[in-house]
Amino acid sequence: MAVKVIIPTPLRPYVGKQQSVEFDARTVGEALGRLTTQYEELRKHLYTDDGRIRSFVNVYLNDEDIRYLQKENTQLKDGDTISIVPSIAGGAGR
């Protein structure tokens, strides 16, 4: 399935400044896997060291958060759009 992945501004330097990239993939996880294989520098910003999507990285399929679908196993169809949407967090943290 040909799908488009929208890249947020802070990650565009790692994909040749493109706003989006296209892949053939059957699931959201497969599309993100292809993305981070082709653009390896992205991996550490999207995934933790043990391979889970970071808590402040939100992935939407079209307009739906994949946490409310089948997460990374969510099936894709031709023409779908995956968006990586940041949550912003921090704090003094003591």
Binding site: P8, R12, N58, I88, G91
Partner: protein, 157 residues
């Protein structure tokens, strides 16, 4: 270099004082020039971290999208974020670093007993191991801007 006008700086400080002893947060809308980034609009947001707002802040994906939409409508970019450290130095914590994105400017304002104190700016290094200081400079208004971004700028004290 991050260009932040005195009124913008005061707006962030006022938000930080208003939210004390909790952390405040918001977006910085602006544009990137050859000599640095210029903040054109401060966009306050609600700290969504309900369980621990005194030492944590959270901006949800929905709030992120609202800030991004505001930037697009104004012909600007979402260039960074600000938050306060109540009764804590304006230094990024490990928690800040672990949750940071590259590229964005992160402004931190310390607040001591409700009074705004030091303000600093930071960017995450590409390898995520540390923050790098980003210098903040004040703008002197439209005449300075006509002379080019950064012309006539003065350091924020």
């Amino acid at each position: 270099m991050l260009y932040l006008s005195e009124p913008q700086k005061r707006q962030i400080e006022a938000h930080a004082a208003e939210c004390y002893p909790q952390e405040c947060c918001g977006a910085l809308l602006g544009e990137e020039g050859e000599s640095g980034r210029e903040v054109r609009e401060v966009f306050p947001l609600v700290n969504r971290r309900e369980d621990s707002p005194r030492n944590r802040f959270a901006i949800t994906a929905d709030d992120f999208r609202a800030a991004e939409k505001a930037a697009q409508q104004a012909g600007l970019e979402l260039i960074g974020w600000y938050h306060s450290h109540p009764d804590h130095p304006a230094q990024p914590s490990d928690y800040d670093r672990e949750h940071a994105w590259p590229w964005y400017s992160y402004v931190i304002v310390a607040v001591k007993e409700r009074k705004p104190a030091e303000m600093t700016a930071w960017r995450l290094a590409d390898d995520r191991t540390r923050f790098q200081t980003e210098e903040i400079q004040a703008k002197l208004g439209a005449s300075a801007r006509r002379g080019g971004l950064g012309a006539g700028a003065a350091r924020v004290h």
